[in-house]
């Protein structure tokens, strides 16, 4: 590999050619602040916060885009650099809605952090403060442009990573702002709700539609039976909100914390319905293969992906598995099966799912998912990991000191197959474990490692009971689009395809805890979070979904067997073509 030699603050470093000054500085253990730059997402040199000085170079250089050159001598902390950064931050603050105390990003904001570090005067420049209407029409994302710093990270992740491009920069100069075409609400656009814009935003301009208050109200309502369940990935990320290292598995503390949110609050394990999804989905796959059904079959547990197909590739709707997502299955299990079993009134059950995702907030509202005849959704509220963390904090719980507790019976136990749903490739791997054992009782392989790992398109062929099964997996909707085009053109021929809308899967969902630039730009946080799940899977006694005792119970008592009529009524769904145009 060709390298270049340069000095950062007089420290000599050797880095690969093509590195930027920002990357080279990290090699010298020096971090340069960023605001618009975000690794893998945005690199436009626009915010001017990362300016540095270099010997024999006129003016200051933007470290995020300027290449590390042979012999370059860079200085990252000179008075000129500090003055420039300070002025830039003060200019950004001039028309910023500085309502920091009530801001969702208070203490977690890149701009606030910089303002503190550079000792700025937030009122140094007088300016007209913009007065944009807050867009909160969609059931999942809120945009407050009064706090936007126009870093364009959200625009870039939406356009370049997800290839959905429902937001862009509008107008110019003082009037520039980010929004959807014709300044319509995001809700009128073909947005899939993945929420990657939110986790890319350095400030409080974007956040999930908050629903914690609804949950508090239900907890305080003696009429309501409040039932929580948590998605597989939450245990691998929630600890970050309490200062724990990335990749801490906090399953036990999470169960303990939710149980303590209020009297009678139940906490169930959504890994169970991940197992249930697998049993239904693997059954559906085998049936499609044996009966000449539409192939490839696409996984349907990711609501961002499902909405993407409904908007942009409606011709592929028959390929989507009819299985509801684990969240929706749990809603149907609770308000269908469990209500009947225990005599609870579904109208009085208040079902809260904790999910890594903003699209799941939309999923709750899909009329196709209502399994009962009453006027209620199967899942009442979907909370992001961040919202759950805020609830735990408000409840005054010392999270890191809580004991490790189990989920509540009867929905506590799950297999490793359910656990790995939270990482890209996990659903496919769990389905392969189960399908292989269904077709060949003696099948031994449990780790399908070829479908794991970061977001590229992975294609693998497995041979089970004399049948060759071609599978593909990817995450990120840009990759999904490439994969769909390959299938469309006939270039690829798969039996099953797993797609997660967010790069890396649910562990990197739009509802996960914010990680600052200082982490996202340098640490493979997605791998650390995934590892927590794969470690738990590895340590599980039961690793293939058919071993789940809870699944066995619900089939024996209610759904009979995968694919049977009752299972179909409660656990399967349908999709609609939504069109790719603005409303």
């Amino acid at each position: 590999m060709e390298t270049v030699h340069l000095k950062i603050n007089n420290i000599p470093v050797e880095v690969p050619k093509g590195y930027t000054i920002l990357q080279a500085a990290k090699a010298a253990n020096i971090e340069i602040p960023t605001l618009c730059y975000l690794k893998d997402i945005n690199c436009i040199g626009a915010c001017r916060v990362c300016m540095v000085e270099a010997k024999n170079r006129r003016g200051l250089l933007a470290a995020c885009v300027y290449p590390a050159e042979e012999g370059l001598e860079v200085f990252t902390n000179t008075p000129a650099v500090i003055k420039s950064r300070k002025t830039t931050i003060e200019l950004l603050l001039a028309n910023h809605k500085k309502k920091c105390l009530s801001c969702v990003r208070n203490n977690n904001c890149e701009l606030q952090k910089l303002a503190l570090e550079y000792g700025v005067d937030e009122d140094h420049f007088e300016s007209e403060v913009a007065d944009y209407e807050i867009d909160e029409q969609s059931p999942y994302i809120v945009r407050d442009n009064n706090k936007c710093v126009q870093c364009m990270r959200c625009v870039s992740v939406c356009k370049n990573v997800q290839t959905v491009s429902v937001i862009g920069a509008i107008k110019r100069g003082y009037q520039v702002h980010v929004g959807s075409a014709f300044d319509k609400s995001l809700d009128d656009s073909p947005c899939v709700g993945c929420g990657q814009c939110i986790v890319s935003c350095p400030v409080g301009a974007l956040h999930e539609k908050p629903q914690e208050e609804k949950v508090w109200d239900a907890i305080n309502d003696p009429e309501k039976e409040v039932i929580f369940f948590t998605a597989p990935s939450i245990k691998a990320t929630l600890g970050e909100s309490f200062g724990m290292p990335i990749g801490s598995n906090v399953e036990g503390k999470m169960a303990a914390a939710i149980r303590r949110l209020g009297e009678g609050v139940k906490i169930y394990n959504m890994d169970f319905t991940a197992d249930l999804t697998i049993l239904e989905e693997a059954h559906e796959l085998i049936e499609r293969i044996q009966n000449g059904g539409t192939l490839p079959m696409f996984t349907s547990c990711c609501p961002g992906w499902v909405k993407f197909v409904e908007h942009y590739y409606p011709d592929f709707i028959p390929n989507l598995s009819t299985c509801k997502s684990p969240q929706a299955m749990f809603g149907a299990v609770l308000k269908g099966y469990y209500a009947q079993k225990t005599g609870m009134d579904p109208n009085k059950m208040f079902i809260v799912s904790v999910i890594p995702c903003t699209a799941k907030k939309f999923e709750c509202t899909r009329p196709q998912l209502r399994s009962g005849d009453g006027d209620y959704d199967d899942v009442d509220v979907a909370l992001t990991t961040r919202e759950l963390a805020r609830m735990i904090k408000r409840a005054g719980l010392d999270f890191t000191s809580l004991p490790d507790e189990d989920y509540d019976a009867p929905f506590a136990k799950a297999t490793g197959g359910g656990v790995i749903f939270g990482a890209t490739g996990g659903v496919l791997e769990a389905a392969l474990r189960n399908a292989a054992r269904t077709l060949d009782g003696d099948f031994k392989v449990i780790d399908f490692v070829d479908v794991r790992g970061p977001e590229v398109i992975r294609e693998v062929t497995y041979e089970v009971a004399g049948i060759k099964i071609n599978v593909a997996v990817t995450s990120g909707l840009g990759n999904a689009r490439k994969l769909l085009e390959k299938i469309k053109s006939g270039e690829a021929d798969y039996h099953m395809v797993e797609i997660m809308a967010c790069p890396g899967g649910c562990i990197n969902g739009g509802g996960q805890p914010y990680q600052p630039d200082s982490v996202r730009n340098y640490v493979d946080y997605k791998a650390l979070r995934s590892k927590a799940l794969y470690d738990q899977d590895k340590a599980s006694e039961m690793r293939s979904s058919e071993e789940s005792p809870v699944c066995k119970m619900v089939y024996d008592e209610f759904f009979e067997a995968p694919g049977k009529e009752k299972a179909h009524k409660y656990l399967h769904t349908s999709y609609i073509s939504r069109g790719s145009k603005m409303k």
Partner: protein, 169 residues
């Protein structure tokens, strides 16, 4: 965005013309800007229907098309009236009270600068210096230049146009 009060009335011929422009630019990198120029030539303005056709034709998102259309001031998102009123807000005209002339026109026609009357007869725009500073403040209506105006005089000028159109404003 100013309210688009007039419904889109594109013709088949205009659409064919636009499709031909798109077809000849489809493979050109950075085709969006020149295509939008041509589209505005064809339709006189860039309503959502036209921007959507451009987006679909070039395979770019509508939000990107809208971003470009709103970045350049020469692009108009609202239709132009049968009579196009252009109020010079250049330095000389401004110090001679062009802002008051503009307000007078806006009040009389009941629309803002950048908009078009619901009957499609008048649209108002502001411009910077038509090169007739000696006549400041200046207003152009279609190709006609009116100089040394006062709010009262522009009122009379507008009345003439309104009368010609059989109106009674």
């Amino acid at each position: 965005m100013a309210e688009n009060v007039l419904p889109f009335k594109g013709t088949k011929a205009q659409e064919e013309q636009l499709m031909a422009v798109i077809a000849s630019n489809k493979e050109v990198p950075g085709a969006l800007l020149p295509v939008l120029h041509e589209a505005q030539e064809i339709y006189g303005y860039l309503p959502i229907e036209v921007q959507q056709m451009v987006a679909d034709g070039l395979g770019v998102s509508l939000s990107e098309v809208y971003g470009v259309a709103t970045f350049y001031s020469r692009f108009s998102l609202t239709p132009k009236g049968k009579h196009r009123i252009s109020v010079c807000l250049g330095t000389a005209c401004y110090v001679k009270g062009a802002d008051k002339i503009l307000t007078e026109i806006e009040n009389k026609l009941g629309i803002k600068s950048g908009e078009c009357t619901p009957d499609g007869l008048f649209s108002i725009d502001s411009c910077r210096c038509v090169g007739a500073c000696g006549l400041a403040p200046v207003v152009m209506i279609d190709e006609e230049v009116y100089g040394k105006l006062t709010p009262k005089e522009i009122n009379k000028v507008l009345d003439k146009y309104i009368a010609e159109e059989g109106g009674d404003k």
